[in-house]
Amino acid sequence: MLESLWVWPLLESTHVLSIALFVGTAMMMDLRLMGLTFGGVRASDFTSRLLPWTRAGFVVMVVTGLLVFYSNPVRYYHNIFFRFKVLLMILAGLNIWLFHSRIHRKVAEWDLLASPPPAAKLAGAVSFLAWALIVISGRLIAYNWFDCDIQPQPAFVNWAAGCVLPAE
């Protein structure tokens, strides 16, 4: 199925275009958390009314992303940018968990502040930076510069990509 002429480009395009919905709305909330704009909108208005859109975008990203991954899992598994992207997604996930379990729980205390407390600002900054780097590393997965079958590579690259090299 994934080798058909149309399915892969359509999956890939849906994955890329959905960043406008998913990363885009997440970044707008990050800007609010950092106190950079949208001061007239409560932080909780973002989490209750915009976050459902972010979540919907996330579902589309995950479904299309997994399908693209399964089209060539071994190649992606050993791609250095893919590995970097997964690490960043874990970081972004931890940040979301910390934000919701600690900072957002007390949102009533700072909901109306145009400039939220430092912890919220930090969560917003980490999220913004992490998703920007995830987009960048996601795009670079397409390039095979550091793939295991392109040798020689520096030892660090082969280690990071988990390459199994034939014994000399």
């Binding site: 395009s13 960043i19 885009g24 909108v41 859109w53 397409a142």
Partner: protein, 158 residues
């Protein structure tokens, strides 16, 4: 497409900047990646106001305030996309000339930009509540930019 324009595309392809990017291993990929970060920002800045106009998003404050506060980020994202987009184009102008998706994108882009920066902006400045009109403006905005973005992605496939 427009044969009179071909010499212009050839000139773009021959520029020093275009050649430098084309001959570099990593410049085009990095520019593409930054172009996509711009797409995220642009999508967010557009959709945050469009969802509000549709009545499906943020509720606090006024539509005019939300639009005003999103605007610098919208303009920043547009600048980032145009800057990286022009550089990407210079590196493969002749490929673009023969690419249908490019023409779809490049002809829709000024319409989308004009619509967002003039019509939607003027509408949002004066909108006080969600209406059939505000929903029409938001839908048109989303549709126009979807064509631009989808056309842009498809340049790489054709």
């Amino acid at each position: 497409m427009y044969p009179a324009l071909l010499p212009f595309f050839e000139w773009c392809e021959a520029t020093g900047i275009g050649r430098t990017i084309r001959e570099s291993l990593w410049m085009f990929p990095i520019l593409e990646a930054i172009h996509l970060v711009g797409l995220s920002m642009l999508g967010g800045a557009l959709l945050v106001v469009d969802f509000r106009l549709l009545g499906w998003g943020l509720k606090d404050g006024t539509i005019a305030d939300l639009n005003r506060q999103a605007r610098p980020w919208l303009l920043g994202a547009v600048a980032l996309m145009l800057g990286t987009g022009v550089l990407l184009f210079l590196s493969e102008a002749i490929k673009c000339y023969y690419n249908t998706a490019f023409w779809v994108k490049i002809t829709t882009l000024p319409v989308a930009l004009g619509f967002t920066l003039a019509i939607k902006d003027r509408f949002a400045r004066n909108a006080t509540y969600t209406s059939a009109d505000s929903q029409l403006v938001a839908s048109a905005d989303i549709l126009l930019w979807f064509i631009v973005a989808a056309g842009g992605r498809w340049i790489g496939f054709s």
